[in-house]
């Protein structure tokens, strides 16, 4: 229940529904650019070392007079992979078109893109919804087309500065159907698409570097209506969470506008993450007439189905299949498996961690440690697990130590925190456990006098416990744990406390 601008309570959810379509620009991890032999900003190993301004800019990238495009075959292959992995139909004849607009970071005054007859059409992907990912929803993919990225501009006081290193980086634009109904679905769609393109090895997946950028088309309409409301487009948001928040804000803004009797203006908006709001970038009236027409420099791309099939046959395991396999092979939950496979590097790391003798029995624990403490630190640090100090052996070892009761899960989290900043070889885990004194005390006989003293010091609580106030067991266990500096095996400690309470 919310309050509208007149202060009246309104249950918007029963009156409106949000309709969202997403357009995602995925940078393809080719060596050279899409139409020029210049180094593409993404290097082979996925590192994104900062290049000197305009160092990767040829006369083709800069749109010099007389230059012509020559299409990169790897970019085509990657785009086909994207299409096949999202159940698209691959057009055996597709067309490159020029999209015209004037902007200082667009060298030719047009972007080579696809308009009529894109490479891939009519696909879909499944997203998982609900707290445990228990329900599945199919989201349509209208088209996936190939295009070139623009350059970058830096805005200084009184002038702007153009860097064309990014100009000509190959992109696929993945356009969804307006099948998404709320920010959570949009987030799930983006995470799934991200998992797919990184699993395919066609995108390096560095969000900060703009490898994966999202535009969201948002409209609201009376629930039950089949007509689409006037939409706004929120441009270039490069974090999943911000996309969700931007959509949430925008849908609410649109509801307020409609309820106040105004009309939605079709326009392009930008999202300000700091203020958590969207604002107008340009209204549709001022919008460009793109004057698309087939690029006469690039004849139609004609592919044969044998080639498509050979790419289909060489596709790596996709996230959904990997998730199902993880559930089956390692006995972890569907939800945990889904989280692990949402990032290719995390999924690989997990598999390496449990690829030891008896690894399967450790899988659940490893998964929990990775999804919990490790992921928390990685997210905070904004880095990929492969770029961190973590090694798969660390987690194998931690899971072993937990399973043979040498350390507690709490202690394991502490070790992970230390590994995060120190790293080290496989022996580092035990060394940290020793050094920090994190070994669990399993022989509790030495604790008996301490427990006895705690009971004696708290006669009132002991009496209430005996009178049936079971919950008080926690109080005694807590006191005892404190006395052992948290090292006692909690299950064994509880057993001992119970025994003592009954005896005394």
């Amino acid at each position: 229940m919310s309050i509208d601008y007149l202060g009246q309570p309104v249950n918007y959810d029963t009156e409106f529904e949000t309709v969202i379509g997403l357009e995602v620009h995925v940078q393809l991890a080719t060596d050279s650019k899409i139409f020029s032999p210049a180094k593409s900003r993404l290097s082979q190993d996925g590192s994104v070392a900062e290049e000197a301004t305009n160092a990767n800019t040829t006369e083709i990238c800069a749109g010099h007079p007389g230059t012509l495009p020559a299409l990169n075959e790897t970019a085509v292959e990657y785009a086909i992979r994207a299409g096949l992995a999202t159940n698209c139909q691959i057009n055996l004849r597709c067309i490159f078109a020029r999209k015209h607009y004037f902007y200082a970071d667009l060298p030719k005054g047009y972007q080579i893109s696809q308009f009529d007859l894109p490479l891939c059409v009519n696909g879909f992907l499944n997203i998982e919804l609900g707290a445990e990912g228990e329900t599945t929803k199919r989201i349509g993919i209208t088209r996936i087309h190939m295009e070139e990225d623009a350059g970058k501009s830096v805005h200084e006081y009184g002038y702007s500065l153009i860097n064309l290193n990014r100009a000509g980086t190959p992109l696929v634009e993945v356009v969804s159907e307006p099948d998404l109904r709320n920010p959570e679905e949009a987030g799930a769609y983006l995470r799934k698409l991200y998992a797919i393109v990184t699993a395919l090895g066609i995108c390096d997946g560095n969000l900060q570097e703009g490898n994966f950028r999202c535009d969201a088309n948002v409209s609201v309409r009376p629930k039950g209506s089949t007509r689409l409301g006037t939409r706004t487009e929120i441009k270039n948001v490069n974090s999943f969470r911000f996309v969700e928040k931007a959509i949430e804000y925008e849908a609410e803004r649109q509801r307020q506008v409609i309820l106040s009797g105004d009309r939605i203006v079709q326009e392009t908006r930008l999202y300000d993450a700091q203020k958590n709001q969207t604002y107008t970038m340009r209204a549709k009236e001022e919008a460009e007439d793109y004057r698309y027409f087939p690029d006469p420099d690039l004849p139609p791309l004609v592919l044969d189905s044998e080639y498509i099939e050979s790419i289909r046959n060489s596709l790596p395991e996709l996230p959904d299949d990997m998730r199902d396999r993880f559930v089956k092979e390692y006995g972890i939950t569907r939800y945990d498996a889904g989280v692990l496979v949402s990032q290719k590097s995390m999924a690989r790391f997990f598999e390496e961690s449990v690829s030891v003798e008896g690894g399967v029995s450790l899988a659940k624990t490893v998964a929990n440690l990775l999804i919990g403490e490790a992921a928390r630190l990685l997210n905070e640090g904004g880095i990929d697990i492969r770029a961190s100090r973590f090694k798969p052996e660390h987690f194998t070892e931690l899971a072993k130590l937990i399973s043979d009761k040498t350390i507690s899960v709490t202690a394991a989290k502490q070790v992970i925190g230390i590994l995060w900043s120190e790293g080290g070889t496989i022996t580092a885990v035990l060394e940290i456990v020793e050094r920090e004194g994190l070994k669990q005390v399993n022989d509790l006989s030495s604790l008996e006098p301490i427990i006895a003293k705690i009971i004696l010091d708290n006669p009132k609580q002991a009496e209430e416990f005996r009178a049936g106030k079971d919950k008080l067991i926690g109080f005694f266990v807590g006191q005892a744990m404190k006395a052992t500096q948290g090292k006692a095996n909690p299950a064994m400690l509880q057993e001992l406390v119970l025994k003592k309470l009954k005896e005394q």
Binding site: P37, T74, S153, S160, N163, P300
Partner: protein, 100 residues
């Protein structure tokens, strides 16, 4: 038939980012009007079902192997592409403020 007036010429010139004088706008309204009138003869050609010819050659697009070519640099190691820049600063192409 399209009425080629000065308003249309101004609108199209804006789209093409061309600054025109009033005399130019008048002249183009007249000359382009004349040309488009001649072009109207195409309406009398029956083109139903005719595949448009958008390209000078037949056949499929050739693909380029994904190979990186070394970049051309000047003697001072700076990118050669900056040689032609009307104005540059910090190795970037300088333009008037794009925003604000």
């Amino acid at each position: 038939m399209i009425d080629v007036n000065e308003t249309l010429i101004q609108k199209v010139a804006d789209l093409a980012r061309l600054e025109l004088s009033e005399a130019e706008i008048r002249e183009y309204a007249s000359s382009i009007g004349g040309i488009l009138k001649h072009v109207e003869q195409l309406n009398s050609v029956s083109t139903e079902g005719v595949e448009p010819m958008y390209y000078g050659i037949d056949g499929s697009l050739r693909l380029r192997e994904d190979l990186v070519q070394p970049m051309a640099v000047k003697e001072d190691g700076k990118p050669r592409i900056l040689e032609t820049a009307p104005e540059s600063i910090h190795d970037g192409f300088k333009v008037p403020p794009m925003i604000g």
